[in-house]
């Protein structure tokens, strides 16, 4: 228990550190989906820094690695910051994010070390992940396939095509984590087209469903522990309640910040918000 508490407090430090990096990266580039990145950062920190996933930064294509699919490719600044922090590439590479001679753009790309797919168009990652999980079953390989999707992504019909497929084929080596930040592009999801009851929807599609606080490392750990034992025949979905823009109060709970990086005075306010949160 003490060991886990230590790990959790390390991840909390990492979370603050990488939040700052994400914000700085996007402010410098003048673009990038800041709020979408901040909502799912903690989930990915738990997966990587919390060592829920098996991976090897020195050998990104290691055959035994767990496959992590970031389907909401607009959160690439968060994922890139994590991969850089783990040594997949130099943190310095992020300085040229979405700029001339930069290697990375606004949406996730497959050729970045550690990244499995190109994403940006929504509703693709889950299907590809289910194909990978199916291949693991066929080959009797033990790696897990974990896919992170946005809640707004659940509007895509292709998500439900794959949801049916995965439960029918008993892909209990497939885990979906939904970044449930309740915001889409122009409005809150429940104003837009009601997503709730989201848990019931996934349950009725034959999935094991867990609902957690997506900024609680303890919750994230608990939701994924014993996942390798595959006691259940069903795939697992973790609906993680998050805050879009977490850590930067000035950008939270406002759909207008979707897809944007703050500039000028707003950038200063955002950085200040982040520092205030740190001091709290």
């Amino acid at each position: 228990m003490r060991k886990i508490n230590k790990l959790i407090s390390e991840m909390e430090v990492k979370s603050r550190q990488l939040r700052k990096k994400i914000l700085e990266t996007c402010i410098k580039a003048g673009t990038g989906h800041v709020t979408s990145s901040l909502s799912c950062l903690d989930i990915m920190i738990a997966l990587y820094h919390g060592r829920i996933l098996n991976f090897d930064p020195k050998n990104p294509n290691w055959a035994g690695r767990d496959r992590f699919i970031l389907s909401k490719g607009q959160a690439s600044p968060a994922y890139y910051a994590i991969l850089a922090d783990l040594g997949y590439f130099s943190m310095k590479e992020l300085d040229s994010f979405a700029q001339k001679n930069g290697k990375f753009g606004v949406h996730l790309q497959k050729d970045v070390p550690g990244v499995e797919i190109t994403s940006g168009s929504l509703g693709h990652g889950l299907g590809v992940a289910a194909g990978i999980a199916m291949a693991a079953k066929m080959n009797m390989e033990l790696y897990l396939t974990v896919v992170l999707i946005g809640d707004g992504e659940c509007y895509e019909g292709s998500i439900w095509e794959t949801a049916m497929f995965a439960s029918h084929n008993r892909l209990n080596n497939l885990i979906v984590i939904i970044d449930r930040n309740y915001l889409c592009v122009t409005d809150f999801t429940e104003n837009l087209i009601t997503l709730e009851p989201l848990e019931d929807k996934w349950k009725s599609f034959g999935w094991d469903v867990l609902k957690i606080d997506g900024h609680s490392f303890e919750d994230i750990f608990n939701s994924l522990k014993e996942v390798r034992s595959q006691k259940s025949i069903r795939p697992r979905v973790v609906i993680a309640d998050t805050v879009k823009g977490k850590g930067v109060k000035s950008m939270c709970y406002n759909p207008l910040w979707h897809g944007l990086a703050p500039t000028g005075r707003e950038a200063e306010i955002a950085m200040k918000c982040l520092e205030e949160e740190e001091n709290e």
């Binding site: 797919i117 194909g131 066929m138 095509e161 049916m164 084929n169």
Partner: protein
């Protein structure tokens, strides 16, 4: 391979290959075939039916292929191409994950099923993507060979299968690696055709003494240049909408190679649009002016 459909020839060959190679996986969007039944029964672990869900067929296929599987994704042609076009664009064109897309029902081959099942746009759409090759099957010999060629290919292949059994025009020893076949050489006039229209082209060549090329793979191989650069007139015949179709590809090819040859495209004009015509392919072709008599007349006027 007389009296066997392209579909059956294709899947028979896949069945033989899959028996020896456990990495071959066949995905169907609930589309059947006698050979598929054999695969479903005897090679159950290599067979996946995703239901009528073409978007899922392509993403599942691509996920499997990312791990090294050799995947065929199969459905009625308009649905396995246009319904899931954006999946093909992202997974197979942008990410360059190689799979084989198999569509039955090129052109008007779902004749009585109406315009939802006629497919006149797929060549035009899919040939604009990098990393994807479009192959139009002319007979069952070709379909059988393409099952093996595409299985081991490093890019995504789209195999267009005609629903009706077409006359066998190739010998079993035929080589399809160039992407075209010169049936009959000619010093100054050629008909270039594909799929269901090749037999008509062969018939016309006897009547008018002109050369015939079956152009089955797009993009066009540079090797075609040697065959046609010296000729004076070319007619293209296809069962597709004309914009961006096979004939347009030939036009672009000539233009890119700075070859000035008088070319006439015969195919489906946009002005005629879609049709609800029943009673057979000949009636549909007549409506669009690509039946034997119309083509005969157009060629006669063009080459005189």
């Amino acid at each position: 391979m007389n009296n066997i459909s392209q579909r059956d020839a294709f899947w028979d060959r896949v069945y033989e290959l899959a028996k020896r190679d456990k990495d071959i996986v066949i995905i169907t969007a609930d589309m059947g075939a006698p050979s598929l039944d054999k695969i479903r029964k005897e090679l159950a672990s290599q067979f996946i039916n995703v239901g009528i869900a073409e978007q899922n067929a392509i993403t599942i296929a691509s996920g499997l292929a990312l791990t090294g599987k050799k995947v065929f994704a199969y459905a009625i042609a308009p649905f396995i191409t246009l319904r899931c076009l954006e999946q093909i664009r992202v997974e197979n064109a942008i990410m360059n994950i190689p799979i084989t897309i198999v569509g039955v029902g090129a052109g008007f081959s779902y004749k009585e099923a109406g315009p939802t099942h006629h497919l006149l746009e797929d060549v035009g759409v899919l040939r604009t993507f990098p990393n994807i090759k479009v192959h139009t099957m002319s007979d069952s010999v070709m379909a059988s060979v393409f099952a093996e060629m595409t299985c081991n290919s490093k890019n995504t292949d789209y195999v267009r299968i005609y629903r009706q059994t077409l006359p066998t025009i190739y010998k079993n020893s035929a080589d399809f690696s160039k992407g075209f076949n010169v049936f009959k050489k000619h010093k100054d006039t050629y008909i270039i055709s594909s799929g269901s229209m090749v037999q008509m082209a062969l018939d016309m060549s006897k009547k008018f003494d002109i050369g015939v090329i079956d152009l089955f793979t797009l993009p066009i191989s540079e090797e075609l240049l040697h065959e046609i650069k010296a000729c004076k007139k070319i007619v293209t015949i296809e069962e597709n909408f004309l914009p961006c179709g096979m004939g347009s590809a030939v036009l672009e090819f000539l233009n890119d190679n700075k070859i000035d040859i008088n070319l006439k495209r015969i195919g489906i004009s946009l002005e005629k649009g879609y049709c609800y015509k029943y009673g057979g392919i000949d009636i549909i072709r007549k409506y669009y002016g690509i039946d034997v008599n119309s083509v005969d007349r157009q060629i006669k006027n063009f080459i005189k």
